[in-house]
Amino acid sequence: MNSGEMISVSNVDKFYGSFQALTDINLTVEKGERVVICGPSGSGKSTLIRCFNGLEFHDSGSITVDGIEVEEGSKALKTLRQEVGMVFQQFNLFPHLTILENLTIGPIRVQKIQKAEAEERARKYLERVHIPEQADKFPAQLSGGQQQRVAIARSLCMETRIMLFDEPTSALDPEMINEVLDVMVELADTGITMVCVTHEMGFARKVADKMVFMEAGRILEISEPDKFFTNPDSPRCKLFLSQILEH
C-alpha cells in the first residue's frame, strides 16, 4: 500500500436540525486503500461519505481529503470535488445528454479541456466499463446496470484520485449486480482510493483492505476483513452480519 493519508476524519458530528446523524466519527483512509462501509439503513453511511466531497457538511470535528480541509463555503471545494468522484445509488445521470455528453460535460466545462480530448478520454473509460458501443444513446435507453457503469465512467473521466460509492448496486435488478461489481473490482486493482458503502459482502471480501460498521450514527467497528467477517469485536456488528449473510 502507498503511504500517506487520503481521507482523515476526526471527532465529526453532524446534525439535521436537532437530529444527530453522525456522532464522534473517527476514520482514516490511506492512499490507495479500499474501505467498505456497511450497517443498517439510516445508520448514517450516506451522510458520512457525502461529507467527504461536500454534498453535506459536518458541524464539528474535522475532515481532510487529500490535504484539503472540507468546509462549507470554502474556495477549495471545487478543487476537492475534482479530486473525489461519486457514484450514487440512483445513478444520477443527466437524462437530457447522450452517454458521451454525460462523460464529457465535466471535463469540458469544469476542467476546461478540449472537446476532442474529452471525447477521447470518454471513449477510453467507456471501454473500461465495457460499453463502448452505447456512446450515442441516452441514459433512458440503457439498462440499470449499464447506466451505473456509465456513472462510474463519468466519475473516472474526471480522473479523480478517490472514488466514493453509495450503495451502487442497491437499485439494480439482481441479474445486473455482477456486471457493476466486476467493473468495481477491476477499478480497485488500478490503485485508486475507494470508499464503498455496500452490503455486497462477496465484493467486500474480494477487495476491502478495511471494513467499517456503522449503527445509529456511530462507527462501532473498524477492522481487517478477516477479523471483521469471522470475529468482530462489536456484538451489534456480529448480529448485523449474521442477518445479511443469511440470504
Partner: protein, 275 residues
Amino acid sequence: MTTRPGTKRKSRLQFSKIVNSVPISLALYFTVILGIIWLAYSGAQAMGYNWQWYRIPQYFYTLTDDGFQWGEIMIGLVKTIQLSVTSFIFATLLGLLIALLRLSGLVVGGAIAIAFLEFVRNMPILVLLYLFYYVLGPVFSLDRYTASVLCLAVFHAALISEIFRAGINAVPKGQWEGATSIGMSKAQAYRYIILPQSIKFMLPPMTGEVVHLVKSSAIVSVIAVAELTTIGRNLISDTYMSFEIWFTIAAVYMVITLALSIGVSRLETKYAVRT
C-alpha cells in the same frame, strides 16, 4: 348490490369516451360557435342592425392603383405582436431573476423576490399601467409604448417566475448531486443540467402565459398605444360598425393565440422525448 356500481361506472366511462371522440367534440364545438353567432346575429336583427361586412377587408389590406397596402388592423396586429414579444422577453428575464433570487437561499434575495411578487399579485394590472404611465412616466420620461412594455413585463414576470420556480424544483434533487459531484458550480449546474431539463416542465404553463400576455396587452388601449384593440376602437368611432369590427378583432386575437398554442405543442413533443 355488487353489480350496480360496476355498471354505472362502465356507462359513465362510455359516455366520456363518446364525448371525447374527435368527430363528436368537433361537432359540439361548432354547434356552440354557431349558437353564439346565431344569438349575436338574431340580436342584431332585432335591433335592426345594418351588417356591412363588405367594408371590413379594406382594414386588412387595400389593393389600389397605388399598389398593395396593409390596412389598419394589420398595423395594429403587428404592434400587438411587437408589444407582446418585447414584454415577454423582459418578463422572462425578470421572471428568471426573481425565481433564482427565491431559490438562492439568500435572505435578502428571497425577501426582495417575495416583496415583488406580493406587490404585483395584489395590484390590478390597470392600476399598474397607470402607475407606470402617469407616475413613473413623467419622472423617467417614458413614452406610452415603453410604459406599456414595462407594465406588461413586470406583471407577467411575477407569474413567469413562479413557472420557473416550479420547473426548476421539478428536476430531481439527484441531478444537483450529479452535477456537484463532478465539480460544477451552482451556475454551471443551472446552465448545463437543471435549466435544460426544466424546459419540458415549463413549456405548457409558459404557453398559457404567452397567450395570457397577448390578451392582457389589450389593456394598453386605455393609454392609446396603437395596438389591435385601440385600432378597433378607433375604427368603430369612425364607422359605427361595432359588431363587425369587434368580431373581427376577436377573431384576430384567436388566430394569434391558437397559432401560439399549436406551435408550442410541437415544441413540447420535441422536448418531451427523454425522461
